[in-house]
Amino acid sequence: MNSSNGNGSMSTASSSGAWNGRDQFPAGLRVLVVDDDQTCLMVFEKMLKTCLYQVTKCNKAEIALSVLREHKNEFDIVISDVHMPDMDGFELLKHINSEMDLPVILISADARKQVVMKGVTYGACDYLIKPVCIETLKNIWQHVVRKKARNTF
């Protein structure tokens, strides 16, 4: 993958550039998936692994946040359920947006427009309705590239 900004040099951005120069991109995309539902988490993990992504799963937003804080630059994207006890997806999203530069996708069985609107206005780069199919997950790398491109230019 070749990219150059106006200065004619390759920007390695803030992350360790996990896949820079790797031919298999987006294989190896480092995903953190957060959902308090064990069944959903199991399905997501399998789907994401089938996409050849590197998956870390988490069933609590607080834990996800501390993982992200401790391991900055080790994740490319976060996928989070909206309705979770204690900290919910919106709050997690707010923390991530203020502390780090990671794209966040929200997922919910709740398709109500006002909730989707909330997700978008809070800064989620996408909002997916459960159940999510693997084809949708195959495309999430676009959010990562888009964010990096925005940061570069």
Binding site: Q38, T39, C40, M42, D81, H83, K130, P131, C133
Partner: protein, 150 residues
């Protein structure tokens, strides 16, 4: 066309689960994830679903015994349950969950209780059918049962 009678039976069981509306396309999504390393993936997910959702059913039962009903709490519990059920493609169960949530929104206690009884029936029926299905699938052998007509 399946020549082996057991495979035919399995295919026919599977078809009727879809035709009768017990399962939707999400179940097929799960089947697509079967591979050599995880030949029983679908069965494992379904087993986890029934184990994990039992807790939600219990909490819903308890919440429905309180007077007056806390519709907001009931709605929250059912939302979780619906998300879980939709991830395995449990179509009828999911439909009852949606109906239940409508009754919560309109504060219809009787509707909630009636719908929940129906939901539990569908939940139990699906479990039995899937148990039988997976039992047969295991007898036939993992790779055979992984071949699905598309």
């Amino acid at each position: 066309m399946e020549r082996n009678p057991m495979r035919r039976q399995l295919a026919s069981m599977r078809k009727s689960l879809f035709d009768q509306g017990y399962l939707d396309e999400q179940f097929m999504e799960l089947e697509q994830l079967l591979d050599d390393a995880n030949p029983n993936f679908v069965e494992e997910v379904v087993t986890l679903y029934y184990r994990d959702s039992a807790r939600l059913i219990l909490n819903l039962d308890r919440a429905l015994e309180r007077r007056p009903l806390d519709f907001s709490k009931l709605d929250g519990l059912m939302h979780q349950f619906k998300g879980s059920s939709s991830s395995i493609g449990a179509k009828k169960v999911k439909a009852e969950s949606t109906l239940f949530r409508e009754y919560c929104k309109s504060g219809n206690a009787e509707g909630c209780m009636r719908t929940f009884q129906q939901l539990k029936k569908e939940y139990a029926t699906l479990r039995k059918k899937l148990e039988t299905y997976f039992q047969l699938a295991r007898q036939i052998g993992p790779m055979e049962s992984a071949n699905r007509p598309k």
